[in-house]
């Protein structure tokens, strides 16, 4: 039993109170500790991902209590990939926050940032549904603080919406957990997967309700239409680096859907048949369409990016809701891409805000640093809209390929392709208004809000672009990896046997079952 698997949760959990208690008034020390911590996280995550890359499962029992009774932390290929993605994204977001000075516009940015990482990484690593709830709460509590970081009335109002929507989501989650516990008597995922199969067909009312409630909760997290209403305002009003980090939060919902609905409620299970193809797929298609139409309709750059996040989550959910190994592999490839692309676009919208004083899609005089910002927006828009040569295009091809032969194939292809076109038009319109037309405009009055973005800000955005380029160049290897991951997800025998059969305190699993 390796202890390293729990380190990505422990490290930020220790670092955050240290930053609050010891370095409260020293932004320099906070920055050093925060960046060092995130770099250490990347090293940890890379080591963990390497050690499970052969298909093994690392497993840690807290307090050494055996599986259905104690709390477990489990790392397989999927969760370690998400941990690695989160920590790499966090590094560049943190560099941007430092470069742009966002971390100094309110208190406790770095402490909240570390707590946020703890929640996200915990949600990826836990092997227990109730702890998934607890880590959701940890990441949400930290995100409430980050969302209203630096204050302001519009931000506070958007914050109220965001907090209340997520509180309702948490309440639903608890109802789902209560129903699952009442039906099965366990909340450990591997144990649940074994027990749900044993429920007699005529007694499935409770577990059906629980499965649907759980799907609703994760769909709220993943901002699936019609549960997406919290996203546009809160992501647009949140500080840009925070919104960029939030790009991974919608993926937590997607991850939870993949994990729970391949292992506990797999597609071939009688209890939840129809949930995936009858409900999830149409909702995902509508999300994709609404998101991209929102891109075309947005009046501000930050809101445009927020809608493009909804659209890309729609694409991810289309691929997931196929619930075939090819679909899940494509979804995982696209998740990495859309996280990076979404974060890049939020950071660029902040570059625009810094250089120009506003993010309205209206003609204004050229911003400071316009050439570089415009070039980056161009590349980011290509990535998000899914045009060649960047990874969005490859991801979209994989999704289309996975959908080939599905009964709803015509619909999937039509919506994916036409929404791509709409998003291209939307991004082109925004880019031409913000960057091209500005050359004819004259400044009405000199504006003190306009600043040249710092070199570190550009470097952070450039780093994310480098990752996107790597994701494109090594697409073959990445897709091969996600394909083997998807196969493992649909045959989780290794996962279950590692969790349930490794001995620990109280471990007599055969005798305990009644």
């Amino acid at each position: 039993m390796t202890h390293w698997i729990v380190a990505p949760i422990i490290l930020p959990a220790l670092l955050a109170p240290f930053i609050v208690l010891a370095a409260r008034y020293h932004i320099g020390i906070q920055r050093v500790f925060s960046v060092t911590g995130v770099i250490a996280l990347i090293a940890l995550a890379a080591g963990l991902a390497w050690s499970v890359s052969d298909g093994s499962v690392i497993y840690y029992r807290l307090g050494d209590w055996a599986a259905p009774f104690g709390i477990v932390v489990v790392g397989d290929r999927l969760s370690t990939l998400m941990v690695l993605l989160t920590s790499v994204l966090a590094l560049f977001v943190l560099l941007y926050a430092i470069g742009s000075g966002w971390d100094n516009r309110g208190r406790h940015f770095h402490a909240l940032f570390q707590f946020q990482l703890m929640g996200i990484l915990g949600a990826f690593l836990t092997g227990d549904l109730f702890n998934l709830f607890v880590f959701f709460e940890v990441l949400l509590i930290a995100s409430y603080g980050l969302m209203i970081h630096a204050g302001g009335n519009t931000r506070l109002r958007a914050g109220v919406q965001y907090v209340l929507f997520n509180l309702i989501g948490s309440t639903l989650f608890l109802f789902a957990l209560g129903a699952i516990y009442a039906e099965t008597g366990t909340l450990n995922m591997a144990d649940l997967a074994e027990r749900v199969k044993l429920i007699a067909p005529e007694e499935t009312v409770g577990i059906r309700v629980a499965a649907v409630l759980l799907l609703l909760v994760f769909a709220i997290k993943a901002a699936l239409v019609p549960l997406h209403f919290w996203l546009p305002s809160s992501y647009a009003e949140a500080p840009a680096p925070v919104a960029a980090l939030f790009a991974i939060m919608t993926k937590v919902g997607a991850y939870a859907i993949i994990r729970v609905y391949t292992m506990i409620f797999p597609p071939e299970l009688e209890v939840t048949s129809g949930l995936h193809d009858l409900w999830l797929l149409p909702a995902a298609l509508v999300s994709l369409a609404i998101g991209m139409i929102g891109v075309l309709a947005a009046k501000k750059l930050d809101r445009l990016v927020a809608y493009s996040i909804i659209g890309s989550m729609g694409m991810v959910m289309v691929a997931i809701s196929l619930f075939s190994p090819a679909g899940i592999a494509a979804a995982l490839y696209y998740i990495v891409h859309s996280t990076l692309a979404g974060a890049v676009l939020f950071l660029i919208s902040d570059l625009v805000r810094t250089g120009r004083g506003s993010v309205d899609l209206s003609t204004e005089p050229p911003m400071l640093g316009t050439a570089l910002t415009a070039g980056m927006f161009f590349a980011g828009a290509i990535a998000m809209a899914g045009l060649p040569p960047l990874s969005g295009f490859l991801g979209k091809l994989l999704v289309l390929d996975a959908a080939y032969g599905n009964t709803l194939m015509v619909w999937i292809w039509a919506v994916v392709l036409s929404s791509s076109l709409i998003s291209v038009v939307g991004f082109a319109r925004a880019g031409s208004v913000v960057f091209w037309k500005s050359h004819g405009a004259v400044a009405a009055e000199p504006d003190e809000d306009r600043l040249r973005p710092s070199v570190l800000s550009y470097a952070a955005v450039g780093g994310l672009f480098a990752l996107l380029a790597l994701h494109t160049v090594f697409a073959g290897q990445v897709h091969g990896y996600t394909t083997s991951m998807a196969k493992e997800l649909f045959a989780p025998e290794v996962y279950k046997s590692t969790v349930l059969e490794t001995p620990g305190k109280l471990s007599k699993p055969k005798e305990k079952e009644d």
Binding site: F130, V134, E137, I141, Y144, I148, G151, G152, N153, T154, L156, R157, A158, G159, V160, Q161, V163, L164, L167, I168, S170, T171, L174, F175, L177, G178, A179, Y181, A182, G185, F229, P232, S233, A236, E237, G294, A297, A298, K299, R303, Y307
Partner: protein
């Protein structure tokens, strides 16, 4: 007793949902509190209702009640209590700042209205 507990959960949930749909901070926060009370009782009953049974295994005890839902409820109570405090503070800040306690986006402000 099952009927009593079940109807209590149902009534609290219904009242909570009604209040949440009022879309003003005060009723919505009250509604959220009612919903969390409902979910706490619901979680508590997910280990089956038993009266006068201890939650620990002992040699001389034959009837015992499931201790896990009690632990879950405790966690849920702590989290919901903390969250209510947070949302009251943020809601108060938003109300004092913009003199408006609507939860939803108002179209007339032009700032956040329109699309969602």
């Amino acid at each position: 007793m099952e009927l009593l507990v079940a109807s209590a959960i149902g009534v609290m949930t219904a009242a909570g949902i009604y209040l949440v749909l009022r879309l003003r901070t005060f009723p919505v926060i009250l509604g959220m509190s009612l919903l969390t009370y409902a979910v706490n009782v619901f979680l508590f009953t997910s280990g089956r209702l038993k009266i006068g049974a201890p939650p620990v295994l002992r040699d001389d005890v034959t009837v015992y009640t499931d201790p896990l839902p009690q632990a879950l409820v405790l966690t849920a109570i702590v989290i919901s209590f903390g969250m209510t405090a947070v949302v009251v503070m943020i809601g108060l800040g938003a109300f004092l700042g913009s003199d408006d306690d609507h939860i939803d986006d108002q179209p007339d402000t032009g700032e956040t209205g329109g699309q969602s």
